[in-house]
């Protein structure tokens, strides 16, 4: 198999040729180890050894060796009270014949044969209190419905499915329910009236069946069921959003309440009822007056706050003026001392400035000394080499002969343009190779 693949792929055989013999040896060794198989049969196998090792010994299930005595079972007849035909059937019951006959238990599954307590009516009843000309139901059909309801234990889906009255009526499930519950209610009401005991009043109110509501409810349920996953996800996210909003709103409300509390005047701790009468008021007045007097003892200076402020301002103004004067003086002195200002006051022409090698920069510069030529940029070695190659092509040196400021600036620009050229070249090369590959 592998050799075929190799052939297809045009791969030389030499490498794999050494492998097959090895494999053969292996299988032979394995084959010798196998026992319990016919030699002739084994020879038939040839190289195609089965993928699964053959099990040479078969194992049967262990023999059952139970020492216990088997329990006795009796074949007994039983009566099923759920049946109406009194048919007698037999079944196995645990226990000896005597015990089983002695204790005749009712059939186990009898209890599941229950019947719903559905109100019933006769034709007379129908005519007396059920008949309603506004409803398109006749006695016969109502009877049919009740029979079905009884037969299928009020399983409405089944009833609706099996509903097959003589003339096709096209009644929906809700129609059937409405009719059924309506009739039941009537019967119960009539019975109540007869017996004059309101024991079923609770049930009667429960039997109010609203067909439209039911239809709406089902529609909603169907719609809920038919949502697409995207809609469900959206709904969920919206719910989360809504919760977030609610939480945020709660937070803001709480914060606002706090703020308002802070802004509010302090709440009265006690009730103010005692001060509402004139007597209470005078008492309060007296109290406040005494407190005021006490405070006066503490700070006897009758201060006029406005005057104090004015005084303060005046002082501040004076000190400020003094300070300003001092500063002006100092500045004057400094101007006299400083060599820069001395020089700058001479109003140097640009030419003179150049002669002194002076330059005033607009921005802050890093202090320190450096050589002008050190500002020529350097690049990564391989980039630098390419740049130098291009410089040679252009007939320029790596370093300018005269590294003055303007020359260095130009050199910097040259380096940068060469660098962009190199980048561009790289891009073009890349694209070209891509094209070649695509072709």
């Amino acid at each position: 198999m592998s050799s075929e693949i190799l052939d297809v792929l045009n791969v030389q055989h030499s490498g794999s040729s050494s492998q097959p013999p090895k494999k053969k040896q292996k299988t032979e060794q394995k084959a010798k180890a196998l026992t319990g198989m016919n030699r002739e049969l084994f020879q038939l196998l040839g190289q195609n050894t089965p993928p699964v090792a053959v099990r040479n010994q078969q194992k049967f299930k262990d023999r059952l060796n139970a020492l216990e005595k088997p329990s006795s079972w009796t074949w007994a007849a039983f009566k099923n009270n759920a049946r109406t035909d009194g048919l007698k059937l037999h079944h196995w019951v645990k226990g000896s014949k005597e015990t089983v006959e002695a204790s005749e238990l009712p059939y186990k599954f009898e209890k599941y044969n229950t019947e719903l307590n559905i109100p019933d009516f006769t034709e007379d009843d129908y005519l007396t209190f059920i008949k309603n000309k506004a409803v398109p139901w006749c006695y016969k059909e109502t009877r049919y419905l009740f029979d079905l309801a009884k037969a299928f234990d009020l399983k409405w889906i089944v009833i609706n499915d099996r509903y097959n009255y003589e003339e096709p009526t096209g009644r929906s499930l809700e129609d059937l329910q409405e009719r059924f519950y309506g009739v039941c209610q009537r019967i119960l009401i009539y019975q109540n009236e007869q017996e004059e005991t309101a024991q079923n009043s609770n049930l009667i109110s429960n039997l109010n069946y609203n067909k439209h509501k039911e239809i709406e409810r089902k529609k909603y349920l169907i719609r809920l069921l038919e949502r697409s996953p995207a809609e469900i996800a959206e709904e969920e996210s919206l719910l989360i959003e809504a919760k977030k909003f609610e939480a945020a709103a709660k937070n803001t409300i709480a914060e606002r309440a706090q703020l308002l509390q802070l802004l509010d005047s302090p709440h009265a701790t006690g009730s103010i009822n005692q001060y509402l009468s004139s007597q209470g008021l005078t008492q309060l007045y007296n109290q406040l007056m005494t407190e005021k007097r006490k405070r006066r003892v503490d700070s006897p200076a009758p201060e006029n706050p406005l005057a104090a402020l004015n005084e303060k301002f005046k002082q501040q103004h004076l000190s400020r003026q003094k300070q300003l004067q001092q500063e002006r003086m100092e500045q004057h002195k400094r101007v006299k001392d400083s060599p820069i200002s001395m020089l700058l006051s001479k109003n140097l022409t640009p030419r003179e400035e150049a002669a002194f090698g002076l330059q005033v920069h607009a921005e802050k510069i890093t202090p320190g000394v450096f050589l002008r030529s050190s500002k020529i940029p350097t690049y990564k070695p391989n980039v630098q080499n390419r740049i130098v190659a291009i410089l040679n092509e252009l007939g320029l040196g790596r370093k300018p002969v005269m590294s003055t400021e303007s020359v260095v600036a130009k050199q910097d620009e040259l380096y940068k343009t060469i660098n962009t050229l190199l980048d561009l070249k790289k891009q073009v090369d890349k694209l070209e190779t891509e094209h070649r590959i695509m072709k």
Partner: protein, 214 residues
């Protein structure tokens, strides 16, 4: 270092001074070999740092340290007074490390640079026999020392006299304003050529991208 207000720096101001560094070399005169030169030596050379027009630079340069090849005796030569130069004999070219120290008032670190010692004429076609004049090799580099935000003291020293005068014409000095202008023009031409190349390649790139696009 003198502390106090004098070491205060002047903001946003820089001051620069031109210097040149390099070497001159010339082969031995066969008749007058220096008596103490080893037998394999062939050249006399001088490496130096100085003002471009021979002016004094010691008012801002305190000393210059030349680091020669390790095979020289006492290979680190510290020159503490002008002229800042070292004259030696030798047979081979090598990199000389040069460290320039500034006067105390500058309150600056030293600046180091390298110079490749040239003994043989360069830029000549191969097999060309150099003339006697060409045998006197010069390899000189022009540079500027820039003091960013100099101290007030240094500023005072530097402004005693104009020290940045560059002659107008080439005939006055190799390093003149004319040289500078020519240099600028040369570089600008180079930039122009590179720009043309860039344009060419941009077009090519656009074309390639358009082919690739649809």
């Amino acid at each position: 270092m003198a502390p106090g207000p004098s070491s205060k720096r002047i903001k946003t101001l820089s001051i620069c001074r031109p210097i040149v560094y390099g070497n001159t070399a010339k082969p031995f005169d066969p008749e007058h070999r220096p008596p103490n030169a080893p037998s394999e030596h062939t050249h006399t050379w001088t490496v130096f740092v100085r003002g471009p027009y021979g002016e004094d630079v010691s008012y801002f340069i305190k000393k210059v340290v030349f680091k020669l090849h390790d095979t020289y005796n006492n290979s680190t030569r510290s020159i503490e007074s002008p002229p800042f130069e070292v004259t030696e004999t030798g047979w081979g070219e090598f990199e000389i490390g040069i460290k320039i120290f500034f006067v105390n008032e500058a309150n600056e670190k030293n600046v180091s640079l390298y110079h490749h010692l040239r003994l043989h004429p360069y830029g000549l076609p191969l097999n060309a026999v150099p003339t006697e004049e060409q045998k006197n090799v010069e390899s000189i580099q022009f540079d500027e020392v820039v003091f960013n935000e100099p101290t007030e003291q240094l500023f005072h020293i530097m402004t005693q006299k104009p020290g940045n005068m560059v002659p107008e014409l080439k005939t006055q000095s190799v390093f003149s304003k004319q040289t500078e202008r020519e240099e600028v023009v040369r570089i600008e031409n180079g930039i122009k050529k590179v720009r043309q190349e860039i344009e060419k390649y941009t077009k090519k790139l656009n074309e390639l991208q358009q082919i690739k696009g649809p």
